[in-house]
Amino acid sequence: MGMAAADAQFHVLAVDDSLIDRKLIERLLKTSSFQVTTVDSGSKALEFLGWHDDDDDVDVDVDDDERNNSNEAFVSPKNHQEVEVNLVITDYCMPGMTGYDLLKKMKESAFLRNIPVVIMSSENVPSRINRCLEEGAEEFILKPVRLSDVNKLRPHIMKSKSICKDIIQKPENQEKQDNNESTETQLQSQSQPQQTSQSNNNSSNKRKSMDEGLSPDRTRPRYNDMTVMSN
């Protein structure tokens, strides 16, 4: 995985059983320059993330002799994430596996626990919100989701990005901790400046436009002069 590819675009996995909401979140995320994959259920999300049943048993503190001797088994193909996912945004109310269930499964998996998770819900239920945050969700967004909500996602990704990569590559805890520091610094010096300036530009443009109530500064079929007339 080259550095150029790594800082190109962040990839968000959006989970929602509503087709309309999937379309909306996809557009919102793409407009904010994210790469997007949408799925309609928690189980499909786990499948996409490369999760398998036995992940629950995998402990970061590797003290099992078998595992120590067979590192290859740990990073076997079935545990390998084909595409790197930098953030999961999921609806809470879904048939079968709820967003909360998905969150829980991810946090129980050594393989997936460092991917930031954001929960969306149409209902403002404090106990629900607290439960999700306590379980490790980064943020709880009330639906309907707007552009301003999506702008809040980037910091969560930036925080976790380098750690996530290390989980995939380094099975042993000790090595991981050592490498975390060195790879983090590496990533920071090489990719951060570029990324932050890009994302700052994007988000500041959008924030500015939203504040002014004008559409973002892009070429689009808009006719802003009309707003003067309408007053």
């Binding site: 087709l19 309309i20 309408s230």
Partner: protein, 154 residues
Amino acid sequence: MEVDQLQRSFLEYSRLLFHEGFLDGQFSQLQLLQDESNPDFVLEVVSLFFEDSERLLNDLTIALDQQNVDFKKLDAHVHQFKGSSSSIGAQRVKNVCIAFRNLCDEQNAEGCLRCLQQVKQEYLLVKTKLEALLRLEQQIVAAGGAIPMLNEFC
């Protein structure tokens, strides 16, 4: 018709729909997401909403037609309808859905039937109005103009 005239009609009509509560700020959010690379975004989402709504209304009618109404199932359908109408900014439909859910909680079959009629009515109203609005939009684009937006309803 000239582009100017079309744009003025569009703005007037938009303003009316917002004032009467048919649409809310979420609809403006949809418009914000439409651009040259996705010129049909609003039309696509609204079309999905129409399809989805018709299916849900059908499911609701069937659910309420049963001897023993399954209020949990009914509520699940209304919850979906509330979600989709909220996502596109169909405010009045959403509000009726909120009332509908309360009636489901109370297991009030008669009340639910009345609410179903109401939600059907509101849906047909917003459908007609959205179709008219989108037609105006298409006319503006066809005449080479840009689609104006009401800032005050973001």
